[in-house]
């Protein structure tokens, strides 16, 4: 009897209590990429919860590469799943998500002057997240590609960090010749058919002043493309890069450099923290500078970074957007720079005294992020990316010549970007 009465009371409690708690508590759920320190993001979420007692934020994480996460989120969004409110997106995706109608614009939440609001960010991120006047996502953090080099080896052989790729080849050959170590590679970059290989192709292409896409139309320059593909292929043929460079992914470059087997490496900012870690064979022997240019061209980097978007299928869009505004604030940018070594999306944060103290090399990183270029902005980016990276991979493997590769790339890109 008692248990029956207890049950009745309990049921009554639920009946009365649940609508009350629902109105008092908003439950949000955010997807964070596992390679970007979800543990530190969690602390930022806690801070928001403490300041907004009515809101609880759950954290979901998964996949370890941009490609894997995109596949997962594709499934969630095509299923119109309401369980995720906030999504972290690689910088190449906000345009695609906006075109698919998967994210809600921030214009209303921001208010009248969206231009001024976006001007606070580094220009590249203001641009990447604004499509036809709509703010489709807000920057989470910045990133770019850098040239890492072995300070100790360069000093030992009296070589300066290279200004262009030709100088790099000469320096690498000099060091390799003198060191006579079988395991040592002159240069490591991404030749596997992964997202990073898109940047591999674009770095020299951009350096020669050409664009792949202009105003949504293909502006492919065949000669520049051939030169870009040939530049990388020559590194492999001349023994500066290793023969199986077509098998090398981003984290392979990081691991091989970290093991002390690479003189020069092209990689993202995340590698720096790992090189200084306890398992690194190159701790305190690493220098980082802006990427070399093509002789006669300018130095450019590939723009990385991730953005916060709010799902169209979220049941608490406004609350989610306010939460994203908090995550994309100078305060959290500074917090993440200090605690997770993520590059800030605000120019001022680079100069912040505490940030400079915690991650001194960010002072030089600012200039690199400033010159970084965005990969083509198009709703069909996945296809563009696949075409570019498989071509880079095929050329490096010697399946096709740089000339054939450029022709194939152009033909296939024309189909996608008509």
């Amino acid at each position: 009897m008692i248990s029956k009465r207890a049950l009745a009371v309990l049921l009554a409690g639920f009946a009365i209590g649940s609508p009350l708690t629902a109105s008092a508590q908003t439950q949000l759920r955010a997807f964070v990429s596992s390679q970007h320190r979800p543990d530190v993001w969690r602390k930022a979420f806690d801070l928001y919860e403490a300041r907004n007692p009515g809101i609880k934020v759950g954290l979901e994480t998964g996949g370890n590469t941009s490609d894997a996460q995109a596949q997962y989120l594709n499934t969630v969004m095509t299923a119109k799943d309401t369980s995720l409110d906030v999504l972290i997106l690689d910088v190449i995706r906000p345009a695609q998500y906006a075109a698919a109608g998967w994210t809600v614009p921030f214009n209303e939440v921001i208010g009248s002057d969206t231009a001024a609001y976006m001007q606070r960010y580094l220009p590249a991120y203001a641009e990447a997240n604004t499509i036809d006047g709509k703010v489709v996502a807000l920057p989470a953090f910045a990133d770019a590609m850098f040239l890492y080099y072995r300070k100790d080896l360069l000093e030992k052989h009296g070589v300066n960090p290279p200004q262009n790729w030709d100088e790099l080849a000469v320096s690498a050959k000099k060091i390799l010749g003198a060191e006579k170590s079988e395991n040592l590679q002159g240069l490591s970059f991404q030749g596997k058919a992964i997202e990073g290989a898109v940047c591999t192709f674009l770095l020299p292409y951009w350096s020669m002043g050409k664009q792949l896409v202009s105003n949504g139309k293909l502006s492919f320059d065949r000669d520049t493309a051939v030169k870009s593909l040939k530049l990388w292929k020559d590194f492999a043929d001349q023994g500066v890069a290793k023969k199986n460079i077509a098998e090398v992914a981003t984290d392979d470059t990081r691991k091989e450099f970290q093991a002390g087997n690479v003189v020069f490496a092209v990689n993202w900012s995340y590698a720096w923290g790992q090189f200084q870690g306890p398992e690194s064979a190159v701790k305190d022997k690493v220098g980082v500078v802006k990427l070399p240019a093509v002789a006669g061209g300018s130095s450019v980097s590939c723009l990385g970074g991730w953005e916060w978007g709010v799902s169209t299928y979220s049941k608490n869009k406004t609350e989610a957007q306010k939460f994203v505004q908090f995550l994309s604030s100078p305060e959290i940018s500074k917090f993440m720079a200090i605690n997770a070594a993520l590059l800030p999306q605000f120019p001022d944060v680079y100069a912040d005294a505490e940030v400079v103290k915690a991650v001194p090399w960010f002072a030089q990183a600012r200039a690199v992020v400033d010159t970084a270029k965005s990969r083509p902005v198009t709703p069909r980016y996945n296809e563009v990316s696949e075409i570019v990276r498989t071509t880079v991979n095929a050329v490096l493997a010697g399946t096709v010549t740089p000339e054939q590769g450029a022709d194939q790339m152009e033909g296939r890109l024309r189909r996608v970007l008509r």
Binding site: A100, A193, N244, N382, T390, T391, Q408
Partner: protein
């Protein structure tokens, strides 16, 4: 009682008699009706899980439907098929698929036949042989792909290690279209020949001993016995094994996907992988469906050819 009324009554009686026979017919149906009734659930189920999806696939293939555009499906006739004909990657992946089929099906048949003949020898301990036949077959395809990707790894792989030990230079397998293709074909043959062997072994055991004894008496040698007795009597098992193997070969996905992801470039990508890429990665359901329709047609043609072959040979 008027004539009209009696007529009405009569017809009512006839109706009830008819109704009765209808009931009777339901309760005690003829053989044909019974057969239809018993087949109905299966037919419905098949309609639901085969006819509907295939119909839907064909419907999607004549529409422009890309989930990344946010736009609803628009009828576009044969445009997707037109695009396909002009798509170099479609032709390359189709060629790769056909090549894989032409190499690995006979390859697996020969290896499987040898394995089956060996397993059929009078061993004292049969189970270790049978078990080792089963293991490759029982291993999931993607596992086999991942394991062999390591075997063929240019620096840490066991294959290159063996090559170097016997004084040959190592090969960067996945760095060249030809070697990568060879590595994939070898893996597929290893993975699928045990399936062939199992079916052929079952066939071998149905061949009566007495035939061989009679051949011995007539003075036929081992090789002659194989050509004249074993092979002809194995034909039905071999055809069955070939049908299954050919269809799965046309749908090859897991092993190249896990070993090379289709690389270098698109040199080892198959049609199934290209369908997956267009639908799952690019969310271009229209084009992906058109590709899938082509693969479906290809499988149907091959199956029809085999079936005709069986019928022709009786």
């Amino acid at each position: 009682m008027t004539a009209a009324a009696s007529q009405k009554q009569g017809s009512a009686q006839a109706q009830s008699r008819n109704g009765g026979s209808l009931w009777l017919r339901v309760l005690d149906p003829g053989e044909r009706t019974l057969a239809l009734l018993l087949l109905a659930p299966t037919a419905l189920l098949l309609a639901l899980i085969i006819v509907y999806p295939v119909g839907r696939l064909i419907w999607t293939s004549v529409h422009t439907l890309s989930l990344t555009s946010g736009a609803p499906a628009v009828f576009s006739g044969l445009e997707n098929y037109q695009l396909m004909l002009e798509d170099p990657v479609f032709w390359e992946t189709t060629r790769n698929t056909v090549l894989i089929t032409l190499i690995t099906v006979p390859g697996a048949l020969v290896v499987g036949l040898c394995l089956a003949l060996m397993a059929n020898l009078p061993f004292r301990a049969k189970w270790p042989v049978r078990l080792s036949l089963l293991i490759p077959w029982a291993l999931p395809l993607s596992f086999a792909g991942l394991i062999f990707a390591w075997f063929f790894h240019s620096e840490y792989g066991v294959v290159n290690d063996v090559l170097r030990r016997i004084g040959l230079p190592g090969v960067i397998w996945f760095n060249s279209a030809g070697w990568a293709f060879a590595a994939i074909c070898l893996t597929i043959i290893w993975k699928t020949s045990s399936f062939m062997a199992l079916i052929i072994l079952a066939g071998l055991q149905t061949i009566p001993r007495s035939l061989y004894e009679a051949a011995d008496v007539d003075g036929a040698g081992r090789l002659r016995q194989f050509w004249e007795i074993t092979l002809p009597l194995l034909r039905p098992s071999i055809v069955v094994a070939l049908i299954f193997r050919t269809i799965t070969a046309l749908q090859t996905f897991d092993i190249p996907f896990t070993m090379t992801r289709g690389g270098p470039g698109t040199a080892t990508a198959t049609l199934a992988m290209y369908i997956h890429q267009n639908t799952v990665d690019f969310l271009d359901l229209g084009y992906g469906s058109a590709l899938a329709v082509v693969m479906f047609a290809l499988s149907m043609i091959v199956t029809a050819l085999y079936l005709r072959m069986i019928r022709a040979r009786g």
